[in-house]
Structure formats: structure tokens, C-alpha cells
Amino acid sequence: MKNVIEVKKLNKKYKNLQAVQDLSFEVKEKEILGLLGPNGSGKTTTINCLLSLLNFDSGSINILGKEMTPDAYDIKSKIGVVFQDVAVFEELTVIENITYFCGLYIKDKKIRNRYVEEAIDLVGLNDFKDFYPKKLSGGLLRRLNIACGIAHKPSIIFLDEPTVAVDPQSRNNILEGIKKLNKEGATIIYTTHYMEEVEILCDRIIILDKGIIIASGTSKELKELTSIEEKVTIEIDDLKQEIIEEFKKLKNVENVSYDSKLLYITYKKGKDNLINLIEFMKTKKIKYNKFFSELPTLNDVFLELTGKELRD
């Protein structure tokens, strides 16, 4: 598939802070690209540079094969943006807001009205069409914000942390809506610091830290970057220190900790880790209440690459 966005050696500095450094990446047609990183990692700055809202110091940005500039109205007509902050008019109802923003792109009133109805349907605001924004909950407001950004059926959609401070129901609704837009053919650039979201949504992920790409690839590829094979958590009522020390001596064990009746064991890459663990507990007659294992997450990747948590 062809590239719809190409970014080469993008640099952006705010006074003494290098917000984005030598950023190069491309976005393929109809893919969902996730920009993952903690707050201040340069995600929003990158998006604003891509949209030609911000000056940047060097580099180039091409969208749909053309250089992106503030006057590139033909490109802009094919773009939809959902900003991190809700950007709607308090004086207009839900349907009026969506109609207004959709009308900046779609001249034909009939088509516009149809698109507006489809957008309302997509974000699940059918019961709130005539509500004013101040009457909506935070989650519904976010949905309205999304509908305003995508109602005109853009071929490229930028979503900048659209689920911040959103209730689980609205989050699910938003994520489902994004998947649907992608299925309908939209290319999506999605920024977030929620690793679960990029794992669910994105075909490809770029992990940013301090304005630098520290890793990129599919979720699976990124997880392969970590030395961790799996993490095991066992609920044990009482555990003596010498037994804990014995856990540490098991094959492939990287780290063991015991806190509040929970034993955490991190395994390095290797085979039969769980079988060996269960065997060991059986031999030592260790009674346990719960036992569960999980694969490494993107947070583990980020932790290993940067030494800090994604949500730090």
C-alpha cells in the first residue's frame, strides 16, 4: 500500500526544549498508526506540525504526495482532526455543532445532512442530538468532539488522545467508532499514552520519548524487543523468605518480589517456565489461592527501553 504521509527528519524546538528530534516515519494508506508515549513525549507537537499549525525548524512533511503547508487546502479538505481538547460551540446543540463543522467541508446540504446523521450514529449520540454541550457528560462531550472532526468523511484522520478522561462505555464506543472508520477506508493516526488502546486498535505503533522514536513496529514486533517472556502473579497467604530465595533460583527467573500476599515472578525468554514453576510449588507443597500469567505489555517494552513507566 502506498504511503499517504511521509515525514522526514522533523525537528521542532520550543526555546530550550527539543520537542521533536529527527523524526522520520510514514503512514500507509488505510492503516491505523499509533503514536505512543508519555505526556510530553512530542506526540501532539508532531501532529500539530503535520497539520501545519506549528512552525518547525527542519524536515519535510508530505501528505497525499504533496508538501503540507498552511495553504494546502486540497489536502486539508481530505483531513479530519480530533484535538485533545474539546473544541465545540456551547451555543450550538449537538446536531448544530456537527452540521457547522461538517459544513466547512461539504457544500451540498443533502449530503451534509446525511453525513451528520451517520456521524451521530457512529458515536452513539442519537439520543442527545438537541442537547447543548454543557448538558453532556465528559464522555458524551468527547464523542461530540470526535463527530465534529470526522463527520465530513475524511480519508486521513488525526486523533489526538481522544479518550482522555472518558468513562469505559464511551471509550469502548469511541474505539469501536474508530475501527469502523478505518474499515470504511480512512487512514488513522492515533496518539495516546494508553498502551491498551494502541494494542487493540493499531496496525503499527511508534513509541516516542522526549521527541525521539525509540521503537516502532506492530505490537507483536515491539513485544519481541523485550527480554521478558512472561509475568506470573501468585496469591500465597504466607511465604517464608528462604522459599522466596528458592523461587529466584528457578530457571529463567529474572525477578521475584512478594508483597501483600502476592508473589510476582518475571521470566526471561525461555521454554517451559510455567511447567517448572508449578512443579516447584508442588514439590515444596506451597498452597496458593490464585495463579495467573500475562505476556509482556508495551509498558514493559517502554520500561526496558527507557527505564521508566509509560504513565510516568
Binding site: 499549525l53 506549528l54 498552511p70 484535538f83 473544541a87 448544530e96 466547512l104
Partner: protein, 373 residues
């Protein structure tokens, strides 16, 4: 596209309760307050002739200009009720409080009073003005004697007209400054229009700037809507003041309509500059706008009429660049003067003011990208 943005902007601004309050209901309330507060002042201040005496000596008889002036102010303009007496009688009349003061012409013209008051101030003011006019005429006299009499007659005539217009009312000025203030309140819409079009000022503007609509096109539509709403509000206020409160604005309707239209443009363009002046919230900018507008209105005499004259006398440049003062002066001149010279002078100043504000705004607005948003 034009109508889509136009209609929606109209709807958005008309539904903005805070803005409509400040630009329409607050001025209406203020006008009502002025009306209630000042309704008795004019009748209480009804002008009565001031009793004075002039010492009828040789110097007075020889000073033809002054003699002519005093005769005119006494007999034609009915400002003074004058007794021509000798010095002893004049002193006695003053002692008995039968006159407010007497005038003795010697080498200079001197006013003798017993106590301070409005009447005594008027007598002194007449003498000061006479000196001023006479001094100007004396300078011309040296150069070209044949035109002296014409100028002297003209100056005296204007002077009499200015101070003796039977329409004089001390309260109308307050309503003129109110109209000036309301025009400047167009700045509310100017601030809003800028906030809604600059990406570094609001997220809605950022959303607009990623759409295929040219920023300046959007801004021009916003400013047009702003002008229509603010101008309608100004006309509503004007109608309320003229037709409901019965404040006399004279009968030159067309110049008033042109003036308030220009005043509204000045207000909106002033608001645009305030909107661009800092990255604060719209509320912060509105606060700045209200403060500055109130200050300009104060300096134009909205709260204390004498301030206007103090500023014009001591800091004339400030009076010249104050748009509220320009509007007040233009309305004042329409009301008091028979010709439109002073009106056009103020109108022109207002146009220059707007032009400067718009030019500066445009230069800043040409920027298409921002260093930070």
C-alpha cells in the same frame, strides 16, 4: 459556504448571553440610570441672568470692543443683567449682595466678586475669553488692519453663539459618551472573532485552520457578523435614548448613523488588537477591553463631565486619540454647531484610528503557522 458560516456565526454570537448583556443590556441599563439620575438636573440648572455691574468710567467707554460685547451679552443674549454705575455704587451693590460681581475697566479689565460660585466663574470666563479673542485680533491688526473688523465681528459672533445656545444641556454629553462607549464595546465581538480564528488562541480556531477555509475569509465573515450585531445594538440604544428617554440628539440623523457605523468599526478593530495582544483567555481579554473602554469613556467625560475638558486642556493628544472622545465630540458638534466641520474632523480621526487598528491586525494575522499553540 459564506451563508453557512455567516448564519452559524450569527446564531453563535446572538446566543452568547454574556456578550449580548455587555453590548446591549448593560448600556440600556446605564442609559436608564443616566436618565433617572440626570432628569432633574437640567430643570434645576435652568439658566437665569446673572446680575452684574459695570463701572461706567472713561476707560470702559473707550474700550469699544468690550463695551460692544457686554451690551450684546446683556441685551441680546440675556446672560447678564447689567447695571452701569459708578465705582461706589458698584461696591455697595456687591456689599448688599444685589450683584454677583462688578467689572472695573482700567489698564486691565478686573472682576470684583464677594464669593466664589458658578455665576462668578461665568463672569470671569467671559473676561478671559474676551482677552483671548482680543489678543488674537490685536496680532492681526498689526499685519492688516482692513480685515480686523470682519474677524473681530466673526469671533465675537462665534463666541456668543457658543456660549449662548439655548439648547445647552449639561446632561446630553453623558449620553454621547455612552454611545461612544457602546461603539467601543464592539470590541467584545472583535476579541471573539480573533479568538475564533487564531490557532494559538483557541482549539476551535485550530479546528477551523485545518479545514479548507481560508483564515482571512473566515475572519472577514466573523467581523461582518460582529459589525451587524453591534451596529444593530447601537441603533437600538440610540432609538431607546432618543425615542423613549427623549434625549435630544438634534435632527441630523444621517450623520449620526454614519458616525455610529464608523464608531462600531473602530470598536471592533480595537477589540481585534486587544484579541491579538496576548495569549490569555477570552475572559482575560474581555476584562482588558472593558477596563480600557471604561477608562476611555471616563476620560471622554462619561462619569465626570469636567474630566473631558481637563484632558482637552492639559493633554490634548490623549483627547485626540481617544475614540470615545472622537464620537462624543462628533455628536456634540452635530448638536451644537450649524456646520459639519468639527463633525467631519472627528469622523476622519475615527476612520484613521480604525485604519491603524485594522492594518496592525492584518500584519499580525498574515502569520499562518505558530511557534507554539
Amino acid at each position: 459556504m459564506f451563508f453557512h458560516i455567516f448564519i452559524n456565526k450569527l446564531k453563535i454570537l446572538l446566543k452568547n448571553k454574556s456578550m449580548i448583556f455587555w453590548t446591549l443590556f448593560f448600556p440600556l441599563a446605564l442609559a436608564t440610570f443616566f436618565y433617572l439620575a440626570f432628569s432633574n438636573i437640567d430643570s434645576n440648572e435652568k439658566f437665569t441672568e446673572i446680575d452684574i455691574a459695570i463701572v461706567d468710567n472713561e476707560q470702559f467707554q473707550n474700550n469699544v470692543d468690550f463695551k460692544h460685547l457686554m451690551a450684546s451679552l446683556s441685551n441680546e443674549e440675556n446672560i447678564f443683567n447689567t447695571d452701569y454705575v459708578n465705582i461706589d455704587v458698584a461696591k455697595k451693590l456687591l456689599e448688599d449682595n444685589r450683584i454677583k460681581g462688578y467689572i472695573l475697566v482700567e489698564d486691565e479689565i478686573n472682576v470684583y466678586i464677594k464669593e466664589n460660585g458658578i455665576s462668578q466663574t461665568i463672569i470671569k470666563s467671559v473676561i478671559d475669553n474676551f482677552y483671548q479673542i482680543n489678543s488674537a485680533v490685536n496680532h492681526i491688526f498689526i499685519e492688516k488692519q482692513e480685515i480686523t473688523n470682519i474677524i473681530l465681528a466673526d469671533l465675537n459672533q462665534n463666541y456668543f453663539n457658543d456660549i449662548s445656545n439655548d439648547k445647552i444641556s449639561s446632561t446630553v454629553t453623558y449620553f454621547y459618551t455612552l454611545i461612544g462607549m457602546v461603539c467601543l464595546y464592539g470590541g467584545f465581538f472583535g476579541v471573539n472573532a480573533l479568538n475564533e480564528s487564531e490557532s494559538n488562541l483557541s482549539k476551535r480556531a485550530a479546528r477551523l485552520n485545518v479545514s479548507p477555509i481560508h483564515k482571512l475569509k473566515f475572519l472577514l465573515i466573523s467581523l461582518l457578523v460582529a459589525f451587524i450585531i453591534q451596529y444593530m445594538e447601537t441603533l437600538i440604544l440610540l432609538s431607546y435614548v432618543v425615542y423613549i428617554l427623549k434625549v435630544d440628539f438634534g435632527n441630523q440623523i444621517l450623520p449620526i448613523i454614519i458616525l455610529t457605523a464608523n464608531g462600531t468599526i473602530a470598536g471592533i478593530s480595537f477589540g481585534a488588537i486587544v484579541g491579538l495582544s496576548n495569549k490569555g483567555s477570552e475572559n482575560t481579554k474581555t476584562g482588558i477591553l472593558v477596563s480600557v473602554t471604561m477608562l476611555l469613556s471616563f476620560l471622554a467625560g462619561m462619569m465626570i463631565g469636567d474630566i473631558k475638558y481637563l484632558i482637552e486642556k492639559n493633554i490634548p493628544l490623549l483627547a485626540k486619540i481617544n475614540p470615545v472622545n472622537m464620537i462624543t465630540d462628533a455628536l456634540y458638534s452635530l448638536y451644537y454647531y450649524n456646520n459639519l466641520d468639527k463633525y467631519f474632523s472627528n469622523l476622519f480621526s475615527l476612520i484613521i484610528f480604525s485604519f491603524i487598528m485594522i492594518t496592525v491586525s492584518y500584519i499580525i494575522l498574515r502569520r499562518k503557522k505558530y511557534d507554539s499553540i
